[in-house]
């Protein structure tokens, strides 16, 4: 039989490793709860944290169990009534903050009367939902010390207790300044009609700090009216506080608050602020003008735009951008001609949102005159996102007058905007004498053109003398050929160009296109080029086939490797062949045959290593036979053993005896200790399979 303190200890211990989640894992009985909370009465600041953790667990557990919550609250009230430590009471009040009901109010009310415990009682009462709590707070107001009184007045306000307005109004005249100020703030927080009237009355007679406090409370009163759709009442307060006799902060607050009502009667506030020479008010009026709808406001801003200093013009342009008003575009367009760079940039930016064809033409023209990178970047960003009518056409039309630098940027924009009807113009630009223009135009053609444009693109590829343009043309032609609905025709078109009178560079470029778009004809033409008279063409053909993406080239590559004496071509061909054997749809048996033939022709150590790396990927037992002799070749022993082990591991299921033999061979070599562990595992597996093949 456990005694009570042992049981309590056990409950604490259980809570020790508590994990909370949506599914609760620990339970408590009413008696356990009472015991835990009672025992907590001696808890102090230096205590072990376990009991606080346990009580938090109890609160969680009791959350959806009303009867248990009552037990918890009762036990906590008992603790508060006892001679428990301050820390214990403080912690308990912090829990009552979450769960307290009327049950705890009388005890908390008593605690308010003691200045030592008033603070912790306030913690529990601050969000206590019952009317009894509000009543208790009001009731004790005359019986507590001044510090506690301020505390309670604050809470009455925080709880928005309208029944406390009378008491708070009386306190506005208190000799205790802190108390009077607290009452004013609380009245502002409560914010009913009655409270606002009390604030207004007191403010009229107040001065100094108290007047400032009451002004802030009155602003809250205005918010109360605005929130209850009593705009006239709200604006009356704001207009009073915007008077020139009021402090600047009150004026700014009134201005922002007034505009924030969104009421058309607040336009006067905005106009006054704009017309007065107080920078902060003018800026605030412009920034908050978006709150007010209608053309009156837009017109005022536009009128200001014509006479304001440049920095203010920037603000106005940005404010206009937020107005859904047809008047905005013309005003901002005018600002785009400003001599001030900041104003121009602001206008360029806004045109990106509201502009159309003529705006785009303006920006295209401004691009050539841009004085800073920021100006250029803003113009380009705006052109990129502008959605109005006729924008694309305007950009295309502007190309003819643009200098090369601007032309290059505009072609980039056309590309970014994805404007396909521009292809005809872009093909013309692709022949531009300035290579930068031509390159970016070819790139755009690659993005925007269709297969029908391939012939013209191929012409450019063949005719250009600029390497950069040619490279772009190769990429663009490859894209078009790959995407062509009739790929065969596209490849034929490229092949036909090779038959014409073309330069060596063009011939090579056309081969690069063919190499990227595999087909029988592509490979046939590339193979033919291997026998070309020109050494450069032959070299390019080897390289093109070396990068061919299709398995059909593997045999050709092997043949090149076995036949050529050019060491570079041998390497390219062997690498290409192995790459295809590893990645293309070539079949393991065929690959093994290729490797066998390649190995017979391999003379350099590097070549053998390369072939071994390919063999290592195979899972054919026959590959073991191919590799095993090479493990005795000192020059490639390590690579051969690695390949042997890899192949044997993959073949163990099919040929356990051969795999075991391979493993034993590796284990017998003391120089290969790094591989021994893998070999032992393989041997174990292979032996097991060999003894029980099923």
């Amino acid at each position: 039989m456990m005694n009570k303190s042992s049981k309590t200890l056990l409950v604490f211990a259980l809570a020790y490793v508590f994990i909370t989640s949506a599914s609760f894992s620990q339970s408590f009985t009413p008696d356990e709860i009472k015991d835990v909370i009672k025992a907590f009465g001696t808890y102090d600041y230096a205590g072990d944290p376990t009991p606080t953790c346990t009580i938090e667990n109890i609160i969680r557990y009791a959350g959806d169990k009303p009867q248990l919550r009552a037990v918890v609250e009762e036990a906590m009230v008992t603790l508060l009534e006892s001679d428990a430590t301050f820390r214990a009471r403080q912690f308990v009040c912090h829990q009552l903050w979450i769960i307290a009901t009327d049950q705890s109010v009388p005890t908390l009310e008593k605690m308010l009367l003691n200045k030592e415990t008033a603070e912790i009682a306030c913690y529990a009462l601050r969000t206590h939902p019952s009317a009894a709590a509000s009543c208790a707070l009001r009731e004790v107001l005359d019986r507590v010390d001044d510090v506690t009184k301020v505390r309670i007045v604050n809470i009455i306000g925080d709880r928005k207790d309208a029944a406390g307005i009378g008491r708070l109004t009386g306190l506005l005249k208190s000799d205790n300044a802190a108390l009077a100020e607290a009452a004013a703030v609380s009245l502002g927080t409560i914010g009913t009609d009655k409270a606002v009237r009390a604030i207004a009355g007191a403010r009229a007679a107040a001065s100094g700090k108290m007047r400032a406090v009451l002004t802030r409370a009155w602003l809250r009163g205005a918010e109360y009216y605005a929130g209850n759709n009593r705009m006239a009442d709200a604006l009356a307060i704001y207009k009073t506080l915007f008077d020139e006799s009021e402090p600047l902060l009150a004026r700014r607050s009134a201005l922002v608050g007034g505009l924030g009502t969104g009421d058309s009667r607040a336009v006067g506030l905005m106009n006054t602020a704009m017309d007065q020479d107080v920078a902060v008010l003018r800026a605030a009026a412009i920034a908050n003008s978006v709150m007010l709808k209608g053309q009156k406001v837009t017109k005022k801003l536009i009128a200001m735009l014509k006479i304001a200093a440049p920095q203010t013009q920037v603000l106005i342009v940005e404010a206009l951008a937020q107005r859904d008003d047809p008047l905005v575009k013309d005003a901002v367009t005018a600002a785009a001609y400003s001599e001030n760079a900041d104003v121009r940039i602001a206008a360029f930016n806004v045109l990106g949102n509201v502009g159309d064809g003529p705006s785009a033409a303006l920006l295209c023209s401004a691009l050539a005159k841009a004085q800073t990178q920021q100006e250029t970047d803003t113009i380009l960003a705006s052109l990129r996102r502008m959605k109005g009518r006729g924008v694309d056409r305007a950009i295309v039309d502007s190309l003819s007058d643009a200098n090369p630098a601007a032309r290059t940027q505009l072609i980039g924009i056309i590309n970014d905007r994805g404007y396909r009807p521009a292809v005809k113009v872009l093909l013309q630009q692709a022949r531009h004498e300035n290579p930068s223009v031509a390159r970016v135009a070819v790139r755009a053609v690659g993005s925007l053109a269709a297969a029908g444009d391939l012939a013209k693109l191929a012409d450019i590829l063949v005719e250009t003398r600029d390497k950069g343009v040619r490279d772009e043309a190769v990429r663009a032609a490859t894209k078009l050929a790959k995407a062509a609905p009739d790929r065969k025709a596209a490849i034929q078109l490229i092949a036909d160009r090779m038959d014409g009178e073309v330069s060596v560079e063009a011939d090579i470029a056309l081969m690069r296109v063919l190499a990227a778009v595999p087909s029988d004809l592509s490979l046939e033409r590339l193979e033919a080029a291997l026998n070309a008279d020109n050494l450069k063409v032959r070299d390019a053909a080897v390289r093109a086939i070396g990068q061919y993406p299709d398995a059909s080239a593997a045999k050709t590559l092997l043949a090149i490797f076995m036949r050529t004496k050019n060491p570079t071509h041998r390497t390219i061909a062997l690498r290409g062949c192995i790459h295809l054997c590893k990645t293309a749809d070539i079949g393991a048996q065929t690959a093994l045959t290729f490797y066998q033939q390649a190995m017979q022709s391999a003379s350099a150590v590097g070549e053998k290593k390369l072939i071994l790396s390919g063999i290592a990927d195979l899972s054919l037992p026959a590959a073991i036979d191919l590799v095993t002799p090479l493990t005795d070749d000192e020059a490639v022993r390590t690579e051969a053993c690695l390949a042997l082990l890899a192949v044997a591991e993959k073949s163990a299921q099919q040929a356990p005896a051969r795999a075991a033999a391979a493993a034993r061979k590796i284990l017998s070599d003391s120089a290969l200790t790094d591989l021994h562990q893998r070999a032992r595992q393989l041997l174990k597996k292979a032996d097991a399979l060999d003894s029980n093949p099923l």
């Binding site: 994990i19 600041y45 604050n154 809470i155 925080d158 902060l249 608050g257 930016n349 970014d416 905007r417």
Partner: protein, 416 residues
């Protein structure tokens, strides 16, 4: 493809040079600023503040004498004089009429109240994150800033950093398809060893340090590890998590609302003096079904934020500022900048510009409040140990206990 990125309505990053007239600003036109709370964070940010020619730091304030003196020395050294004033009480500082703005980098317990008091005194505010200790506090910051027309910048500076900006642009422009999940990983909270009260060390105004939080004797573990006790902090899920919830909200285009359902789990370990759990995971679900999973786990260096869509994902590794994505081709759209989250220069620049223009900052009170609220609700969820439904419009739960935890009493003389 850049055209796609240009489609979202993101504010321009205005270069510092555009704020002043030319390279130097006349002293009379400079924005005067003071720091409140000159601890580690402030020491790191101050050099970035001082880089702005149009700003003059005229004072520092801290309740700890050693930090106060170090702060003054830091500012004086920059200007090559001894003009920087030092205050141990921020109310005296706020009374200065020649002060335009404050940078608040106190402990979390003071962020909202100091912001509110600064606004009442007519100062503009850059406050470190998290914005508040409770939901009510940050809502009060929103209302106060609106009431006084105050320019307020919250220190969620990742909005001003190109990696996160790029990430959110990718998410918002559909480059990873329809985003259905965001994962935000913070590191796990430490285990704090139990410790008893000690005498308050000399040079610390402990009453001011405690401020509006419940009275508690001086305990070094609580004093130095305030982030791990509910009275003074909320653990990494709010301290760091607010950065990520802010980016999540931005990327999901939910800046004026938030998730509606929260479900979480937390791990409380044996004999931990800290209040906050060691690890936690909270799934926050938006009304349209999208999920934000907030994690507090793993090591400090493992933190990240990832947006996952039906056609790919994009992640920023917060420690390294490295962006990864699937498909990888998305990354080609990014214009690389060397600036990482550790450099708040762009964020400060945005604040200073808004002081002049009276426009909304990139981390406005409302956006920051919504991001911070997610962390607060996550903590309420794991503290109560149950699922919660939240109405972002009324900012109330359907759970009475949780509703009480939206706010809590402040220790007088402090109040919202």
């Amino acid at each position: 493809m850049t055209g796609v990125l240009g489609a979202a309505a993101f504010p321009n990053i205005i270069p510092v040079s555009a704020l002043g007239r030319g390279n130097t600003t006349a002293p009379s036109e400079r924005i005067t600023l003071a720091t409140i709370g000159h601890g580690n964070r402030c020491r790191n940010v101050t050099p970035h503040l001082l880089l702005f020619d149009q700003l003059q730091c005229i004072a520092v304030c801290d309740a700890r004498k050693d930090r106060l003196l170090a702060g003054k020395a830091q500012v004086d050294k920059h200007y090559g004089n001894t003009d920087c004033a030092a205050y141990d009480n921020f109310q005296e500082l706020l009374a200065r009429e020649d002060l335009d703005a404050v940078f608040i980098a106190t402990g979390d317990r003071w962020h909202s109240l100091a912001s509110i008091m600064a606004a009442r005194a007519g100062k503009d505010v850059y406050s470190e994150k998290p914005m508040s200790l409770t939901i009510e506090e940050s809502r009060a910051v929103v209302e106060t800033m609106k009431r006084f027309g105050t320019v307020y910048q919250c220190g969620h500076q990742r909005r001003s950093v190109d990696s996160y900006r790029f990430q959110t642009e990718v998410a918002r422009n559909g480059l990873i398809g329809k985003v259905h999940t965001v994962i935000a990983q913070n590191w796990e909270n430490p285990i704090v060893a139990p410790e008893g009260p000690r005498p308050v060390p000399e040079g610390i105004d402990y009453e001011m340090w405690l401020g509006p939080t419940p009275w508690h004797p001086f305990v070094p573990a609580r004093f130095h590890g305030w982030n791990y006790f509910w009275d003074t902090g909320g653990g990494t899920i709010i301290a760091m998590g607010c950065h990520y919830t802010d980016i999540a909200q931005w990327g999901l285009d939910t800046d004026d609302t938030g998730p509606v359902h929260y479900k979480g789990a937390a791990e409380f370990v044996p004999n931990n003096f800290a209040d906050v759990p060691k690890t936690a995971q909270v799934t926050c679900t938006y009304a349209d079904g999208r999920k934000l999973i907030v994690l507090s786990r793993a090591r400090f260096a493992d933190r990240f934020i990832r947006f996952i869509g039906d056609k790919g994902w994009i992640q920023v590794d917060d420690e390294t500022n490295v962006v990864t994505a699937e498909p990888e081709s998305i990354l080609k759209l990014r214009q690389i900048s060397a600036r990482s989250w550790a450099n708040p220069g762009g964020h400060i620049g945005n604040f200073l510009r808004c002081i002049k223009t009276r426009q909304e900052t990139i981390c406005s009170p409302e956006k920051s409040h919504r991001a911070t609220t997610i962390g607060h609700i996550a903590n309420i969820c794991i503290r109560l140990g149950r699922e919660l439904n939240w109405d972002p419009k009324t900012e109330r739960f359907d759970d009475p206990d949780a509703n009480r935890m939206i706010s809590r009493a402040m220790r007088p003389p402090w109040r919202l």
